[in-house]
Amino acid sequence: MGVLEAILLTVITAATPLVLAAIGELVVERSGVLNLGVEGMMIVGAVTGFAAANATGSPLVGVAAAALGGMVLSALFAFLILFLVANQYATGLALTLLGLGLSGMIGEAYVGTPGVRLGRIDIPVLSDIPFLGPVLFSQDILVYLSFALVAGVSWFLFRSRAGLVLRAVGDNHASAHALGFSVRRVRFAAVLFGGACAGLGGGYLSLVYTPQWIEGMTAGRGWIALALVVFASWLPGRLAVGAYLFGAVMILQFHAQAAGIGIPSQFLTMLPYLATVVVLVAISRDRTRIRLNTPATLGQPFVPDR
């Protein structure tokens, strides 16, 4: 295997949890809801995925449990912000705090337990293509799912009627409501989808990236996913590009350490966090562009009146 091939493989591995979590949050935000609980949903997905795979011996059950774990937590969020009209910022934060707490408690029994690794699936014929084959077509099911989600969400948002409704709800909930669409139902579905995606992103960490349970193993990836959605101007294609760039930044630290550059590891570990800040600054300085792309009712409460 060539060096470039190996590097691309590790970039995909580092980026996939970000793609999964961020594509879900993109749909949530397109519907006008800002869920700051991505980090919490991811870490709960990581622990439920690990626990289920461990109990059944089947990593696929783990994948399903990861999605379910994130979804259950997101349902709590949806109930609070949609039906109790709670503050979205504060509720998202609460979700992250609760998720980190719950995962620590559930995961305590699994510290040091060897995990079950999700295997690779070679796609016949395609995986034999030189270079591209091993990189794109000899991956695990979650990587394929992440590719499919980017394409699928892009199609859904801009080519399907339901996607149009979702964007309408996000851009003007009062009008969408007046037209007879159920704003809360659309948003509820979007939040659940986002929760499942975040859970899968977490599950990728505990089933593939480092197949074991480590407390706080998401290490801020949920927040980086939130930043990626802004970076992508709420567009799925750009989001994928951003996620792979961040994956590259994340694995840069391993290669730099291996190469023996005399930079302390802590500074290399800071890179993704600093890169997030830099990227956010670069993208937000253009106020017009941000205003054009941000779903117009993002973060605003909605109470149906009649």
Partner: protein, 364 residues
């Protein structure tokens, strides 16, 4: 039948008082269920968790020790949140304040002077302010989302601390432990009660509460914070500057978090370590909301959250329950607070399914 929310003509004062109490009650009920699910007698477990820590004078002092940083940070955060500035990186400002103050202490560790401690505290405050100034500057100058930048800087500050105590600031005589030298007496906060761990940081926390209560309740600045937070346009017409207020709120909360950080290191720990906080900066967010963003309320809420830390330790010792349950309680509490706050502004009403209702013609 379904539940519907009807907006009240004005905020319910009664609910505003009741909501935190209701949230606490709901947390206790959920806690009892959780303990029962873990196979413990719920009444005894709740007793161990929430009552036992209040029964000895040592643990009551310990309660005040833990409430000190929580209250100090939360007062600053409340002013941020009231003015609609979402600083969630207090943990980072706490850490960087501790680093800055400790830098002074460690470089002057042999200087036996009464000036050393004040100098450290000022450095801690400035450190916290500097760390908070970054998201404030980026927000006001480049329109950057302060939630994400302030949070990212938490990781950066923690990694910086980790590097310092394992690298340049590691105690050469410390058997290779990742710890700095122990602070000299001159660099240690004076104790309020000899023999306890309660230091004068607690006085700073109370002072912060008093000053913030006066500022919010009786000054033009307090009015500005509320107006710009609730109605930015009205505030702008009144001649208030959002930019200036954002900078003010961040510097104030960063400074308080920095003061809390150096107070904790100098008063409670006595040296720098890789981890200097059990998540005070995040728990303070809960304190701020539980205290209804009101300084006096925050004082009470800070004590309650401090109790949750102590209760977690007690439950681990007496019942063998992991102290990880602390964070579950804290998260649950915030969820319930936010849920109960709904009823300050809205009144629940049961309605029969209505053919002209939203449910009937919702298509999506």
């Amino acid at each position: 039948m379904r539940l519907e929310l009807v907006r009240r003509p004005e905020q319910s004062r009664r609910m505003a008082m009741l909501s935190p109490l209701l949230a606490i009650a709901l947390t206790l009920v959920s806690g009892a269920i959780l303990f029962a699910a873990l196979g413990h007698d719920p009444v005894r477990a709740l007793g161990v968790y929430f009552i036992e820590p209040l029964t000895t004078s040592w643990s009551v002092q310990e309660l005040l020790v833990k409430a000190t940083p929580l209250v100090m940070i939360a007062v600053g955060l409340a002013i941020c949140y009231l003015s609609n500035n979402w600083n969630i990186g207090a943990e980072g400002q706490f850490t960087f304040g501790a680093i800055a103050g400790s830098g002074v202490a460690l470089s002057l560790n042999s200087w036996d002077s009464g000036l050393l401690l004040p100098l450290m505290l000022v450095a801690g405050i400035l450190g916290g302010m500097a760390w908070a100034a970054i998201p404030a500057f980026l927000k006001t100058r480049f329109n950057t989302n302060e939630i994400l930048t302030s949070l990212m800087l938490v990781y950066v500050a923690q990694l910086l601390l980790d590097w310092l105590v394992r690298g340049p600031w590691r105690d050469p005589g410390g058997y290779n432990f990742p710890e700095s030298e122990v602070f000299s007496d001159a660099a240690t906060m004076p104790l309020l009660i000899a023999g306890s761990r309660l230091h004068i940081g607690a006085v700073f926390a109370v002072l912060a509460v008093v000053v913030a209560a006066i500022m919010l309740g009786a000054t033009l600045k307090g009015f500005e914070i509320r107006v710009l937070g609730q109605a930015p346009k009205a505030g702008s017409f009144a001649g208030f500057s959002r930019t200036r207020l954002t900078v003010f709120a961040f510097l104030l909360s960063g400074g308080l978090a920095g003061l809390a950080g150096i107070s904790e290191v100098s008063g409670t720990i006595g040296q720098l370590r890789p981890t200097i906080s059990p998540g005070y900066g995040f728990a303070a967010i809960i304190v701020a909301f539980l205290g209804r963003l009101n300084p006096i309320g925050i004082l009470v809420a800070g004590l309650l959250l401090a109790l949750s830390y102590l209760g977690g330790e007690a439950a681990q010792v007496s019942l063998g329950i992991s102290d990880k349950i602390t964070k579950v309680f804290q998260g649950m509490l915030l969820i319930y607070v936010l849920a109960c706050d709904t009823f300050i502004l809205y009144r629940p009403r049961l309605v029969r399914a209505n053919p002209t209702g939203e449910a009937a013609h919702g298509r999506a």
